[in-house]
């Protein structure tokens, strides 16, 4: 009898011990999500692979989910635990101040995410901003080099803007407040920003002004003209992983940050543009692209 009791005690201690270890320092499955375009997807994949290398299980179902509205909703509701976020636009979306200083944007994003119980990790030196792009012929015809040049002829042009532009403070809001361009007066073709469809629409003259990502490889490849945002409306969009606190509480937060921050620190603007190009233009497999880069940087063993 006594022996039995000892056993029971031992077992319950073991159970408690086990519970503690999964509570604080375990490696629970991480559900990663991202915006729908290739750059966001490949950065999410980079984070996913480096976490897998360190023993975490990753659920990729949310990668390429859609617009910021969609990924935010998924993150805030716990359908995903983490996504790479463009810190300036991300902060602005939630009512934060956006600036051209990424450090301030990171603080601001953390501030607006505090009540959502979400933590912002270190950001990349690389930046990608929302860009308005025209073909060379259009730029020459209307003498366009900066966004202000668009104001007087805005209603004559055909615009390709993001499907969420109408309600976005950095899109329709910025156009109106800084440039006096009223979204409601424009001929807009709503398409996914930075998507192949948007490229195709500009390529085929369905639109003349297209909202693309500044790192978008198609701009260089096609010799398109990236107009200068002369009123500085678009935030400095470095990328940082943002993660739900309830997931971090189940693991060793410092260790996770220790895995992700060094990776982010290596992603400069040229890297972003290159990863983006390999996926979007060269049509390479997103996992191969991420693995090759991580290997080259020494985060993963060299490919066999």
């Amino acid at each position: 009898m006594r022996k039995f009791r000892m056993l029971a005690l031992g077992a319950s201690v073991l159970v408690l011990f086990g519970a503690c270890s999964t509570g604080g320092g375990g490696k629970p499955t991480l559900k990663i999500g991202s915006d729908g375009f290739d750059e966001a997807r490949v950065v999410a994949e980079v984070y996913a692979q480096v976490l897998e290398k360190n023993g975490y299980t990753v659920d990729r179902a949310g990668i390429g989910l859609g617009t910021r509205d969609a990924t935010n909703a998924a993150l805030f509701s716990g359908q995903i635990d983490m996504k790479p976020e463009y810190i300036g636009s991300g902060a602005a979306k939630l009512g934060g101040q956006k600036t051209s200083d990424p450090a301030k944007n990171q603080q601001e994003l953390q501030r607006v995410l505090n009540d959502k119980a979400i933590t912002v990790f270190g950001y990349t030196p690389g930046e990608d901003t929302n860009a308005l792009v025209v073909k060379k012929a259009t730029a020459d015809q209307y003498h366009l080099s900066k966004w202000s040049d668009l104001t007087p002829i805005a209603t004559q042009l055909k615009w390709g803007l993001a499907t969420d532009c109408k309600t976005s403070p950095v899109c329709a809001g910025a156009l109106k407040d800084a440039y006096g361009i009223d979204y409601a007066q424009l001929q807009v073709t709503p398409l996914d920003a930075c998507s192949a469809d948007m490229d195709s629409a500009l390529q085929n003259d369905t639109v003349q002004v297209a909202e693309l990502c500044s790192t978008g490889p198609e701009i260089l490849v096609n010799g398109w003209v990236l107009l200068e945002d002369d009123k500085k409306t678009q935030p400095a969009d470095a990328i940082a992983p943002i993660i739900r606190n309830d997931w971090l509480a189940k693991t060793d937060k410092a260790a996770v940050q220790g895995i992700l921050d060094p990776v982010s620190a290596k992603i400069d603007t040229a890297t972003l543009a290159d990863l983006y190009k390999q996926v979007s233009v060269d049509k390479k497999d997103i996992k191969d692209v991420a693995r090759a880069w991580l290997s080259a940087q020494g985060f993963l063993p060299a490919a066999s």
Binding site: T167, P190, A201, N204
Partner: protein
């Protein structure tokens, strides 16, 4: 519950019904898109299906080709044709033509297969009796085969129309017109009332069209002919006909 109220409020806001981006305009675009696709698919599907059903020639090729069309996702068809049509017309070739072509590919199979099955399923004795009575081939087709096959042919049209009404929402993905705009924009903007209003509008349109078809079908079917009498009854959903192989 809040969502239901929000949807009702969205739908009852007069501002959402007016203007170039209002419900009335989008509904008109949607119907135009569907009608254009169905008109083209009708010419192709009925023309080929009736001819094949009457002559019995090329049935295998046509029916297999139609079934291949059925296996192609509309979105894939659109993505494939965009670069081609956009090169021809920068505006409609990007936003409208790919959707019409995708919808035609979707609508031809049920129309063609039902037309073929309807015509070829008419009792051969009746066709021969017509010929024996001195009817020309055209008269046999018009006076014997078409009236008897009408219910099955009609079911193919009805099935195609339902599918086209629902699938025409895809046009919005390529920046196109129609009720799909509410779905795509509502999702992108996380404006669920707008998105659900779009869903409800498409469903309502679908119901109205189905009802109209049911009444029309009753009106045009010759007295004494009904789908239970002449032929194996068609499986309405998929547009295939049970017993087709036999």
């Amino acid at each position: 519950m809040d969502l239901v109220v929000a949807i009702a409020r969205w739908l009852s806001d007069p501002a959402h019904w007016q203007g170039t981006e209002g419900i009335a305009a989008r509904l008109g675009e949607h119907l135009l898109l569907a009608a254009a696709a169905l008109a083209i698919a009708g010419v192709i599907g009925l023309g080929a299906g009736i001819r094949i059903g009457h002559t019995g020639r090329g049935a295998n090729v046509a029916v297999n080709l139609a079934n291949l069309g059925r296996a192609l996702p509309t979105l894939a068809v659109m993505a494939i044709v965009v670069p081609i049509t956009a090169g021809i017309d920068s505006e409609l070739g990007f936003k409208v033509y790919p959707a019409i072509i995708g919808l035609v590919v979707l609508a031809v199979p049920p129309i063609l297969v039902n037309a073929y099955t309807g015509i070829s399923g008419v009792d051969r004795d009746m066709v021969e009796a017509g010929r024996a009575a001195g009817m020309t081939e055209g008269q046999v087709l018009r006076s014997v085969e078409l009236p008897l096959a009408a219910p099955v042919i009609f079911t193919g049209l009805r099935s195609a129309t339902s599918q086209v009404i629902a699938t025409a929402t895809l046009a919005a993905i390529f920046g196109g017109p129609g009720l799909g705009r509410f779905l795509v924009d509502g999702y992108a903007q996380l404006d669920y009332p707008q998105m659900w209003a779009g869903v409800i509008l498409v469903a309502a349109l679908f119901a109205v069209v189905e009802l109209a078809f049911a009444l029309l079908q009753r009106a045009i079917t010759s007295p004494g002919v009904n789908s239970g009498y002449v032929l194996a009854s068609p499986d309405h959903r998929s547009g295939t006909v049970r017993g087709e192989a036999a």
